[in-house]
Each structure stands twice: as structure tokens, then as C-alpha cells.
Symmetry: C2
Subunit: 472 residues, 2 copies
């Protein structure tokens, strides 16, 4: 592909994306294809001879697009937002064009230093103390794994890194029963084992009970086990419950445990002065992660991981073969030692584009609008006798279900009815939402946060849900 063709095809794809983002609402939100339907369209072997780009792009539009679930649709309310924006897409494009590997400072000093500064910008925007230093990782799963490794090495004086866990004793990790699945996955990967996870009780709002945390740690110490790490969640996946860092932090500190805060979704909300409280007590944390790729208008992946002691993180993850040594190693950050992977994309560029093009005021305005819409939707649900809210709504996510006003349906019928309702609205294609299970109750989740989502879309969701309630 010469530069003439690149320009021409590039302009065409830019124009296509512009149209797509303007009119994503023309598509069914969730793809309706059957398993294998897309796979069957792809020839079994790579072509021997090159093909023209316009044919490939046409195949994309005709063959691939029907299999795409549209995360940027204004009526995408599933899982969590992964909101995107023009500046972010252009930053990603530019980063792909440069194609640098930001593994070492020397392999592109600007990639490292812009990343350092973007982490300063983000840190200050969400009100974290200046003692935090940040790095961009791909996902909160990876960041939480890094935190568990830091905790493991602090608890063992770096002996686990050297000699493994065979003689490290029984290390323990504490998180609420509502913590994300990445914590148990990280515990497995890092060699603690799933059984090392101690579920801490939650209160009525599904937030961690600091008293129970203290009791669990104390009991483990008495049993000769080795408490190692607390993972607090600010904005749980199911219901956006907020563990109280101001109370959890001192417990972790008193016992000398690493405190990691998983604020993957919710951290972004702390850019709002009125929501700053969700990170109150974060000064007690050793590490914290939140994902600009969820709610800060930055396309996936871009996860902001902060630590108070970067030297400990580097010591935990460092490798230093001859072929990676440079003369600058004592003067600079080599971000390869701040994460799992060696290779790293130049992800700071898209964040820089987003933060500058929008500006802090506009970002706050957009995030506040999402929270306000969730509050409105919750009020509609709460005000309708045929529906009920199943969790508080501190942020952008509403947990609720259909429960006809006479309240005569038994638990199984309610679960089946709400599952059928969800499947029906998703199949209809106008909205897409997903579920969780709370105390055995099948629970609908409406997560508001896509860039193009406006009040009218949330109204449509409410209409669509009410139009699809099961017949009785």
C-alpha cells in the first residue's frame, strides 16, 4: 500500500467512522448473529495474492459489521460504559502510525514522559494525593494483578519472587464478596490460590464492613495464616457499591497490609467535586486503579494504575537483561518494570488528546449528566408499582427488576420473568442491557455512560422495558 492509497483509504475510513458515530443508532445494539455465522463467511486460508483495499473494506461492512455489538450506540446500557470520542480515536490512530514501543525511556522518551505527565493530570483531576505515581496499563485486571504481586513481595521481603511460594506460608487476601472477578483470577495467577481470598461481609448497600475486615484479619493471624493484602472496591461491578476507604484504610494500615483500591469504573466520577467523597481515604492506599477507557471518553485500552511507592513496584517486576540496558537507566523511568508486559503502546497520546480537546470542565459536565440520568431512571423505576430498585444508585448504574404490583410472583417466576424480559428487549435490538444476580435475584442492570447517550435514549430504554414485560 503506497502513501497515495493510504491517504485515499484512510480518508474513507475516517469518513465512515464519522458517519458511524453520528448514526450508530441505526444498528441493533446487540448483534443478532448466531454462533459460527461470521466464521463461516471467512475463507479457510489467507489469500495467496493481495486484494484491493476497497474490497476488504466492503467485506467489513457487509460481512463483519452485522456481527458487531455496538458499544458506542447511544442505547448501549450493558456491562459498563466504554465510551469513546473523536480525540481518542485520532490519538490512537496517530499512535498506530508512529508504531513506537514504549518499553524503555530510550525507545521513545516522549512516550514515557507524556505518560508520566498524563498520570499527574489524572491524579490531580480525581483528587489523589501528590504522593501517587502513575502508569498506563491495559486493564484493571492486570493492574490488580500487579498490586497483588507488590503485596506478596512486601509480605515476603521479595522472597516469593526469588524462591516462589512453596515456603512462603499461607498468604491471605481480603476483599468484599462483591469484588470483581479479577481479584480471584489474580490470586490464582500469582500463586496465592483462590482459597487465599477471604470474603469480607458487606452492609446493606453492599459496601465492605470494616469491622468484619478487622475480625477476619485478626482470626487469620490467630490461626497462623499470613494476612497480606486488602482489595477495596470503589464502585463494584454489580451495583457500584463503594467500600469506605476512610474506615478500611486504617484497618489495613494497622495490620501492615497492602491496600489496593479497584475503582475501575467509578474512579472517573471523582473528577466531580460532589463525587470526590468516593475516594476519601485513598491516602491510605498503596495502589489504586481506574479506567479512563470505561468512562473518560478514551477508547479501550487505557487503565490508570497509581502506586505510592514506585520503587517497590519496580523492584517487584524488574528484569534487566543486557540487551535492555541503556545509559539512562538511573535517570529515567523504564515503564517496562511497572507492569506485566515488556512491550508497551504509546497510549498517553490519546489521553492527552482527550484531556486537552475536552478540557476538565466539559469532562465533568458529561460525567455529571450520566449520573443525573441514572438518578432519573432510578426515580422512574422507584415510582412505578410494577418495578423495584434492588440497590442504591450512587453513580451511573441502576439495578432493578420487574415485579408486578400485586407482588404475588414467587422468586423463581420473578427470575424467569426478568430473564425473559431482558432477552426480549435485547433481541428487539433497540437497547442492550445485561444482568447480575443479587441474593439469588435475577437483576437487570442499566449502566449509563456512552458518549452519545442523552435523556431521550434513557426514556426509550424505560419505554422499551415496559413494552416487553412478560404476559401473565
Amino acid at each position: 500500500m503506497d502513501s497515495k492509497e493510504f491517504r485515499q483509504q484512510g480518508h474513507e475510513i475516517i469518513d465512515w467512522i464519522a458517519d458511524y458515530l453520528d448514526h450508530a443508532d441505526r444498528f441493533p445494539v446487540m448483534s443478532g448473529v448466531k454462533p459460527g455465522e461470521i466464521r463461516d463467511l471467512i475463507p479457510p486460508r489467507a489469500p495467496e495474492e493481495g486484494e484491493p483495499m476497497d474490497r476488504i473494506f466492503r467485506d467489513f461492512q457487509e460481512g463483519i459489521l452485522p456481527g458487531v455489538t455496538h458499544w458506542n450506540h447511544p442505547r448501549f446500557f450493558a456491562y459498563f460504559p466504554a465510551n469513546n470520542s473523536g480525540p481518542s480515536i485520532l490519538g490512537e490512530l496517530l499512535s498506530a502510525g508512529l508504531g513506537v514501543n514504549a518499553m524503555l525511556w530510550q525507545t521513545s522518551p516522549a512516550a514515557t514522559e507524556l505518560e508520566e505527565m498524563m498520570m499527574v493530570w489524572l491524579r490531580d483531576l480525581v483528587g489523589l494525593p501528590g504522593s501517587f505515581h502513575g502508569v498506563i496499563q491495559d486493564t484493571a485486571s492486570t493492574a490488580t494483578l500487579c498490586a497483588l504481586l507488590c503485596a506478596r513481595e512486601r509480605a515476603t521481603g521479595f522472597a516469593a519472587n526469588e524462591h516462589g511460594l512453596a515456603e512462603a506460608g499461607h498468604l491471605r487476601i481480603y476483599c468484599s464478596s462483591e469484588a470483581h472477578s479479577s481479584v480471584v483470577k489474580g490470586a490464582k495467577i500469582a500463586g496465592f490460590g483462590a482459597a487465599a481470598l477471604v470474603p469480607v461481609a458487606v452492609d446493606a448497600a453492599r459496601a465492605m464492613d470494616p469491622g468484619d475486615l478487622d475480625r477476619k484479619i485478626t482470626a487469620d493471624l490467630a490461626a497462623g495464616l499470613k494476612p497480606c493484602c486488602v482489595v477495596a472496591t470503589v464502585g463494584t461491578t454489580s451495583t457500584t457499591a463503594i467500600d469506605p476507604l476512610s474506615a478500611v484504610g486504617p484497618v489495613a494500615r494497622r495490620h501492615g497490609l497492602w491496600l489496593h483500591v479497584d475503582a475501575a469504573l467509578a474512579g472517573t466520577a471523582a473528577i466531580l467535586p460532589q463525587m470526590r467523597w468516593i475516594l476519601e481515604g485513598a491516602e491510605h492506599a498503596d495502589s489504586l486503579v481506574f479506567n479512563p477507557h470505561k468512562w473518560l471518553f478514551t477508547n479501550f485500552d487505557c487503565s490508570a494504575f497509581f502506586v505510592q511507592d514506585p520503587e517497590h513496584l519496580e523492584h517487584t517486576l524488574t528484569i534487566n537483561p543486557d540487551y535492555l540496558k541503556t545509559d539512562r537507566d538511573d535517570e529515567v523511568h523504564n515503564y517496562r518494570d511497572w507492569g506485566i508486559q515488556l512491550g508497551r503502546r504509546f497510549r498517553a497520546l490519546k489521553l492527552w488528546f482527550v484531556l486537552r480537546r475536552f478540557g476538565a470542565r466539559k469532562l465533568r459536565e458529561m460525567v455529571a449528566a450520566h449520573i443525573a440520568l441514572a438518578g432519573e431512571f432510578a426515580a422512574w423505576v422507584g415510582g412505578d408499582p410494577d418495578w423495584e430498585l434492588l440497590a442504591p444508585v450512587p453513580l451511573n448504574t441502576v439495578c432493578f427488576r420487574w415485579n408486578p404490583r400485586d407482588r404475588t410472583l414467587d422468586p423463581d417466576a420473578l427470575n424467569a420473568g426478568n430473564k425473559a424480559l431482558m432477552d426480549a428487549v435485547n433481541a428487539a435490538g433497540r437497547i442492550y442491557l445485561t444482568h447480575t444476580v443479587l441474593d439469588g435475584r435475577f437483576t437487570l442492570r442499566l449502566a449509563i455512560g456512552q458518549t452519545a447517550t442523552r435523556r431521550v435514549h434513557v426514556e426509550e430504554a424505560w419505554e422499551e422495558l415496559r413494552a416487553h414485560v412478560p404476559r401473565r
Copy 2:
């Protein structure tokens, strides 16, 4: 940013990238900025109000670009290639525009199924047996970590995942002394500990000695240790040495160990019939990784990870909280269970663009040209009495040093001289190459593989090196 502005700025950035890729050779290859120089240009806080995109893009060109080391420069010979191409950049752009998260089949069926098929295409292109199933990961570091976890769980019957390594005994990993640093990093992360790594002797070509592997495993068994995994390297980082899979494989098999093949760089070469031999014996492997983002004209990140038993991989890495369950889970692959991260980009798109736009024949032609150029350069070095080759050149990487013809310089002077030579040519900015250390000898490495690299650039590298030999 409305769609009008997106179009306008998008076209501008596309045009800029087109110019950049045509004329990257106008820039010094390695950035010459000092530590802090870029950081100092960035304001300490995010702007409160949004800024116009053209100002941001101007700041990129004036402020950021001088801090970029140009991996796509035709005279970039450092580390390993990370070759890029127009179709790949456009695929990444389109993927950023869609902004889908390919964590589950349902969250974008096309992303999963196109990925499945691209892994079939790649598997067949490099001649792996049809029993291998693939997944795109970010880096070979992560893929190798997954392989170590699979090995760990096979050796412990999934007890490590559940109960950790505290009671798993002393698991052992075997790799040559030339293996990549990601193996020791993975051993630390997965809780084996660095000491679990058993270095296997290499032959004169720095390839693993299968006899020594057998002896080391046998000795460990006799000592009551638990052999678990062999990591063979096809194309080591320092010298592209090739461990003999046909001999290593049966040893691993006989002892019931997991065999992982790290072919991060070299795997791509197996698309050439004449290089297919490097993967001979791969049928003995349980897993194998190679990086299209190194040498297959696909921008970082895109790492192809293959396993023979995907159910074992899924079982090793699965998590299944209520909020991620879908009705299709029994019928489809949910790639979230094939790797460390939950969230996943739609990376198959760029690979599909690359494989179709170029076609297999053209890809083979370009890779073969790189290998031929490395052979030519090696011949120039070998034919000059003031230089010497320090390793065989089976692929694209030449290890060599300056050693004046009278051969009177002592080892320290040679090391210092070659280091000074490398620093001088890199500072001059016409070429960029890096080093390794072989048996205490400071060794220059010339890695050929960038998309725009032609014979003339390799000739220039040779001229540049000879022009900068230290004065005596």
C-alpha cells in the same frame, strides 16, 4: 468534537502519517532529547477549558515528535523489528472507531470469530499442525505467562489455582541460558520464583542442548523436585539461536512436561518454505507464541498464542461471575478465558487487513528480503579483517563487533571501543542499533526487518559503522 471536525482532523492526521511513513528517514532515528526535556514542556495540570485540535496537533509535531524514537525509520536496526504497514494502521483505526470490547463472544461475535479465523490463517501460514488453536494476546510476555500457568495447573491437577503454591512442592522450569527475560519474569509472577528456573546448557550456536535438558530433569526428579515446564526458544533475543524442537520435544514429552515455544520474533520466518525447518518438531509443543507485531507488518500489539488443548487453557484461566454469563457460553469461545485480561480489543481486524491486502506471496517476499539483507551484511562483516561476527546468522539479526585486524586490543578495550562506537553512531542519528553481551563480549546487533528498509539502508549502516570506529 463533532463529526465535521473529526473528518477534517482525521484527514489531516491520515495525511501526516502518509508523509511520515514516506519520509521517516528525515528524522534522526533515535531521539536525542535529554531526560525531562519533554516532560518540562507539558503543563502541570489538565486544561480547564477545551482546546482546538489543530493547536494540540501542532504541539504534537513541535513538542512531542522530537522525543520520539522512530521505530518505522528505514534505518532502525535496534532491538527487534516492529514493522508496520498502511493496512495495519487502518485496521487499528477502524477498531478504535468501533470501540468494541471483545471479552465475550456476545460482546461482539465478529471480533471473536474473525480472531478464530485469523489464527487459523496464521497457523497454516507458518505450518503449525491443525491441532493448534489460537488467540491474540498483547505480548509474548503475557502468552509465556499463560503457558507457565497452564504447565503449573497441569502439574498440580489444578490444585495450585485453588490452594496456591504453598503446598505444591518445588516446581521446576527449564529453558536455555539464552531464553528471554519474560520467562524469569513469568516464573516470578506465577509464584514459581526465579530459582525454579533451571538454565539448560547451549551448544556453540547458542541453541539448547537436549541432552543437558534430559540430564537436568532427571537430576531434579532424583532430588525430589517437580519438573513442570520446558520453554524452548526459536530465535533467541540476543542472537536468534534456534532451539531444536525435534530433539527437545521428545525429552519434554517423555517426562510429561508442558512444552512452550517462544518464537516471538522468528515465528514469522516460518511463512517461508525454506525456513519452515525452524518450527520442525512444533507438534510436540503444548503452546507456542509468535508476534505478528514484530515482523509481520502489523502494528503493536498483536501476539499470536497457540495451544493444543484450549480447554486446559480455559480451565486454567476461567472466571465466571454472574454478570458475565450469557446463554451462548456452551456454544462459543469466550476469549476472556484464554488470557490474563478480561477486556480485549478487536485486534483481528488489523491482521485481516494485513493478510488480505498483502497476500501470502508478498509477505513471504518481504520477509525473505530481510533475511537476505542480513546475510549480505554478515558477509560484509565477515569479509572485513577489522570486524568479526560473534554468532551465526540464521535469520534477520547480525551479532558482530569491531576488532581491528591486528587483534591486539584486550577484552576491556574491545568492549569499551564497541560501546563507544555504538553510542557514536546512535548519536549521529543516521542509524540506530543496540547491543547484547555474549560471553562477556559487548556485541553489536543489527536487526533488519522494518517495512521500509532496503539494501541501500543496510549499506548506509555499514558505512556509518565503519566511519565511526574509534581512533587508536
